[in-house]
């Protein structure tokens, strides 16, 4: 049975990770090789399973593998069971494929780091957790992978945690993800309370019979979860700081795979969102806000990785937007997710390559004219660039265009608003990505004296090249004959493309989009080619620019709304605990001591006063008896 192979997808990297962590320094020599091999084997298993799926008729492609009964209490029955269907296989191939490339890249990129073995252990752990996330057949199994990737992300962001800011960034990511996990927890609880099950299949079956209110509640909770993991508004603030991790991590976790888990969650839960219009509306709103938010932030970043991170946020906004547009959108969300996986991972690796040649400098204002020194990096990065801004026939053109079209066709004022947001976002994307290209690769050199830019070794540029090829051809392949849409149909119940009335014909939409992209490019060219670029960010800028540079005050807002009141609350409660609650306890003790001290005063030590007291007491008793017996 092919389905019995599913578990090996997860088991191989998990086992490898355990070996690398337990073996300690002894594994330093071969740790990176084992890690890469594990990831590649997992990819091999995934590819084999994919070919097996292709050989099956459509309705028999989904496979499940029950491992054991995980939790079984009363009616709460959760199996450790894996589900490989058309949706999860896309992710399996993306995770293990891109993952393996990034493993290979990291062999060289991390070769000078003493802890390279540990790095590969974490990467393997991440691959295993991420695969569990997409392969779990119930929300609770997904939850394990969901937190597992959060843990791996935490470990990898804080890989160089001897630097306090990096450690803080890791903590921030974990905590904000936990806010999202709160949503996932509650979604599972609501689902169990109302439907008596937490498995995807069970909920899909029960959803039509469930009230819209319940489904909306579940949907909103899932949206919170997705927002936390995918850095969507309002839980987006951690992603920029997460760039503290080594660059391959940013490429794998914070661009290609983990951050797209939210999109996976929404797509997987299509049966809930399709039946809960309010939740769906919130999804598109979150998506639209984030795609603009990320794009705006991206325009003012001088740190190449943070610029790319902002771009990631924005592109995931596109995916969320698409996923919120209902049955037509899911396939496009996944398509953009896959193409984005190629070009964004490629560009991050390119950024890593540039940093590698520039003494880990990340400030783009200190780059310039690197085209001549790093030709391969320039070409691969450039292909990714063309893909992300949506130039035909590169991958991003197909996937993003579909989303813009779907948004415009959503109907009524909603469609126009969403469509224009998506179009405006495309323009901004063109602007900030062109800016990145110009600042990094063209113009004059603005390096520090000790920088000696050079092309990276083959182990680094080969993965970049493969990803670049993916950025070129993937979009075309996915859309040829609507291949991906048809592939995903059994899972997301996607209807024929174009079922909705079309606001504008597709060719016109593409035309408008391309025009806007061109405008974006031209503005960037005017600002950064025509005018000289300074190697420090200019200070005399408008207030708006300053706000954008501070990430639209996202951290300030979080601090003002949550952190400082939280700290104040903690301090107050500690004082209350000491003074009031423990005070009451000590008060009882003090009362006992006090009354003792008071009574002690009657013990004068004078025999005569004692005898007088005895006399009075005896008289009182006699009197008492007399009164009672009267």
């Amino acid at each position: 049975m092919t389905s019995s192979l599913i578990v090996y997808l997860i088991a191989i990297p998990l086992f490898s990770s355990a070996i690398l962590l337990l073996a300690g320094r002894k594994a330093n020599k071969w740790g990176h090789l084992l890690g890469t091999l594990a990831s590649a084997s997992s990819f091999g298993v995934g590819a084999y399973l994919f070919t097996q799926m292709l050989a099956q008729p459509v309705e028999e492609r989904a496979m499940t593998q029950k491992l054991f009964t995980w939790i079984n209490v009363g009616s709460f029955n959760v199996d450790a069971s894996l589900l490989l269907d058309q949706l999860s296989i896309c992710f399996v191939l993306l995770i293990t494929g891109v993952g393996t490339l990034i493993h290979i890249y990291s062999i060289s990129y991390m070769s000078h780091d003493l802890d390279r073995r540990r790095f590969f252990a974490y990467l393997n752990l991440f691959i295993a957790a991420m695969l569990l996330l997409v392969l779990g057949d119930s929300y609770l199994n997904l939850y394990v992978g969901w937190e597992g990737v959060g843990l791996a992300s935490y470990l990898l962001i804080g890989f160089w945690n001897q630097k306090p800011t990096y450690a803080t960034a890791a903590k921030k990511a974990f905590v904000m993800n936990r806010v999202g996990d709160l949503g996932l927890s509650l979604a599972i609880m609501i689902a169990f309370a109302s439907m008596g099950t937490v498995s995807f299949a069970g909920i899909e079956e029960a959803a039509p019979k469930t009230s819209t209110t319940t489904l909306t509640a579940i949907g909103i909770m899932l949206l919170i979860a997705a927002a936390g993991k995918s850095a969507q508004f309002p839980l987006q603030a951690w992603l920029g700081d997460a760039m503290a991790g080594p660059t391959p991590v940013s490429a794998l976790i914070h661009a290609a795979t983990m951050v797209t888990a939210g999109v996976y969650l929404i797509t997987r839960s299509n049966f809930i969102f399709d039946a809960a219009p309010t939740a769906q509306l919130l999804v598109v709103i979150v998506g639209a806000i984030t795609l603009l938010f990320g794009a705006v932030i991206g325009t003012a970043k001088d740190d190449i990785k943070k610029a790319l991170a902002a771009s990631t946020m924005s592109q995931i906004g596109y995916m969320t937007l698409a996923a919120g547009l209902g049955p037509v959108g899911y396939a496009f969300a996944i398509m953009h997710l896959l193409t984005h996986g190629f070009f964004k991972a490629g560009m991050f690796l390119g950024a890593g390559s540039v940093m590698h040649g520039m003494n880990d400098e990340v400030n783009m204002r200190k780059y310039g004219a690197l085209r001549k020194f790093m030709p391969i990096t320039f070409i691969t990065f450039g292909l990714g660039y063309l893909a992300i801004i949506g130039v035909p026939p590169f991958a991003g053109f197909y996937s993003k265009d579909m989303i813009i079209e779907t948004a415009l066709n959503a109907g009524g004022i909603k469609g126009i608003l969403l469509g224009s947001a998506a179009l405006f976002g495309a323009g901004l994307t063109a602007f900030y990505m062109t800016r990145v290209m110009i600042l990094t690769f063209t113009g004059t050199k603005r390096w520090d004296d000790d920088a000696h830019p050079h092309e990276s070794p083959i182990l680094m540029w080969l993965p970049m090249a493969i990803l670049a090829i993916g950025s070129v051809v993937s979009g075309f392949l996915f859309t040829r004959g609507d291949a991906l849409v048809h592939w995903l149909e059994p899972v997301v119940a996607a209807h024929e493309h174009g079922e909705h009335s079309e606001l504008l014909p597709p060719i016109v939409v593409s035309g408008i989009a391309l025009t806007i992209v061109l405008i974006g490019i031209s503005i960037a060219v005017m600002m950064y080619v025509r005018r000289p670029v300074e190697n420090v960010a200019p200070e005399n800028v408008s207030a708006l620019t300053k706000i954008v540079r501070q990430d639209l005050l996202q951290d300030a807002a979080n601090e003002a709304i949550f952190m400082r009141p939280g700290q104040a609350l903690t301090k107050t409660l500690i004082a209350v605990d000491e003074k009031v609650i423990d005070g009451a306890v000590h008060g009882v003790g003090a009362m006992a001591i006090g009354s003792g001290a008071g009574l002690r005063k009657t013990q004068t030590g004078y025999v005569r006063s004692y005898s007088a007291l005895i006399l009075v007491g005896a008289a009182a008793i006699v009197l008492g008896i007399w009164v009672i017996t009267q």
Partner: protein, 504 residues
């Protein structure tokens, strides 16, 4: 000849303690080895008992009744169900680990090393007894007698203001115990009016009493257990005690002794006073939710590592209490599983924390820093223990915490939603000390701290292994707990809320 497994298991450490007392005074190493051996034998005996346990049988098993003080109807009566078995197993597994982990912590005490281990062995006997007693009087006697060894362990071998902490612990617990004693006497008197004086739990459970009486007697028991557990606002003794006690004592105190409180709630409050339990449930759920949030917030603000762990426990005990009184299958089973898991994750935190403190000579968190680079193995153990404390999915505590939450949600959704906020706070209270102690540059004075030695690795390995293994495969424990937990609820007449829509 049949073996009385409970009595045998309970007697083994006591015999060990008596033999230990005959050892000559200077033989510290032998005392340690002997005590360790005694706890291992006890653990083996308990495991042998567990193997024979019939898990689908909801009656008490291994029952043994002997007349003790016949004129008052007092018996030596023991017997266990799934809940008690799990807690006994937890106690006897933790005892040798505590001894091995805290190999040198008895030095510097007020009394000899030998006395330390005698106290621990005596305590272990009482731990087994308190979980298996089915005679209320016997339970009460052990419940109170347990305070004595702990009092000496804190006051004699602790650090800092150990005497004050020990006295606070003793008086606070004694206060609760006396309230319980009053209730027990009332029960005894009533039993005399209804067919003969007895302290037998099963017979007392059938007493007829007015709802007012039941409410008052319930409170007597409940406050005693709420102090023990500890539930907000009866918690203030715990941080002081944990801060002053050695880490081994803290493990036994928080990991095992405090479970007597939550165990008592199931075994005595629910069984003896079903109606009163229902009456007070709303209040108790509110207190539990407050404990969860309050304990977590206070943990976030602590500067002392041991106090921090103590406050996290207050939060966790809130979860357990909430699970017990939500009275659904999931929450009840989850609560018992939580007791077990909390024993292990707190043990891991205290043990590794204790090593860190012993090496650094201070329990203030800010004195640490950068331990990840200096002592990687120790840092990893602490991190894993922390992850278990914040209930990371895949680790054992997640299963129990989620069961409690999901079970509570089906009956008290609002309480469950508020309690779920606790998972965010948990991330903060674990990651803040992790960052301060393990990450960042190495604080001066920490450069040469030694990493874990072989003994310490052997001590912590089973704890961490259990945390991970039971997270992926909790069935062995759940299969034992489920019948007992569902039995508890069904006796009270509770059935699980039925979902509005039947799914697959």
């Amino acid at each position: 000849m049949t073996i009385n497994w409970i009595s045998l298991t309970a007697l083994l450490p006591l015999i060990g303690a008596v033999l230990l007392a005959t050892l000559p005074k200077g033989a510290e190493l032998r005392a340690k080895q002997f005590a360790f051996g005694a706890t291992l034998v006890t653990a083996a005996s308990a495991i042998a008992m567990a193997v024979q346990f019939q898990r689908d049988n909801t009656d008490l098993q291994f029952v043994e009744v002997r007349s003790w003080i016949p004129s008052f109807g007092i018996n030596y009566a023991v017997g266990i169900d799934g809940i008690a078995l799990v807690l006994i197993l937890m106690s006897v597994i933790l005892a040798p680990i505590v001894i091995l982990a805290g190999w040198n912590e008895a030095q510097g005490g007020r009394w000899s090393v030998k006395t330390f281990y005698i106290l621990i062995l005596v305590l272990e006997t009482m731990m087994i007894g308190v979980f298996s007693a089915t005679d209320v009087f016997l339970f009460y006697v052990i419940f109170e007698a347990m305070l004595v060894p702990v009092y000496f362990l804190i006051g004699g071998y602790g650090t800092g203001e150990r005497s004050a902490a020990a006295v606070k612990f003793l008086l606070y617990s004694l206060f609760g115990g006396l309230l319980m004693l009053a209730s027990i006497i009332a029960l005894y008197v009533m039993s005399g009016d209804q067919g003969g004086h007895t302290f037998d739990l099963a017979k007392l459970a059938k007493l007829e009493m007015s709802s007012t009486t039941q409410n008052f007697l319930f409170l007597g028991f409940f406050i005693a257990f709420a102090i023990k557990a500890p539930l907000w606002p009866f918690h203030t003794w715990l941080p002081d005690a944990a801060q002053s006690a050695t880490s081994g004592t803290s493990v036994l105190l928080l990991g095992v002794l405090d479970k007597v409180g939550t165990f008592g709630m199931i075994r005595y409050c629910l069984t003896l006073f079903p109606e009163a339990s229902k009456t007070f449930t709303p209040v108790i759920i509110v207190l539990a939710v407050i404990s969860i949030i309050y304990g977590a917030i206070l943990a976030i603000g602590q500067k002392d590592l041991k106090r921090l762990i103590a406050f996290t426990s207050i939060s966790h005990f809130g979860f357990i209490t909430m699970g017990i009184f939500a009275m659904t299958s999931q929450s009840q089973s989850g609560a018992t599983l939580y007791m077990f898991n909390h024993g292990f994750s707190t043990a891991a935190l205290f043990i590794v924390g204790g090593w860190m403190i012993a090496r650094r000579g201070s329990s203030t968190i800010s004195e640490f820093g950068g331990l990840q680079r200096v002592t990687p193995v120790m840092a990893w153990c602490f991190f894993l223990a922390g992850m278990s404390s914040l209930a990371l999915p895949g680790l054992s505590s997640f299963v129990s915490e989620f069961l409690v939450l999901v079970g509570t949600y089906t009956r008290y959704p609002v309480a469950a939603i508020i309690a779920t906020v606790g998972i965010i706070l948990a991330a903060l209270y674990i990651l803040i000390p992790v960052q301060r102690a393990l990450h960042g540059p190495t604080t001066p004075g920490n450069e040469n701290l030694p990493d874990l030695n072989l003994r310490e690795k052997i001590a912590i390995a089973p704890v961490l292994a259990a945390i991970i293994a039971l997270g992926f495969y909790p069935a062995p424990l759940l299969n034992v707990i489920n019948p007992a937990a569902i039995h508890v609820n069904s006796q009270l007449g509770f059935t699980d809320p039925v979902p509005t829509v039947e799914g697959k």
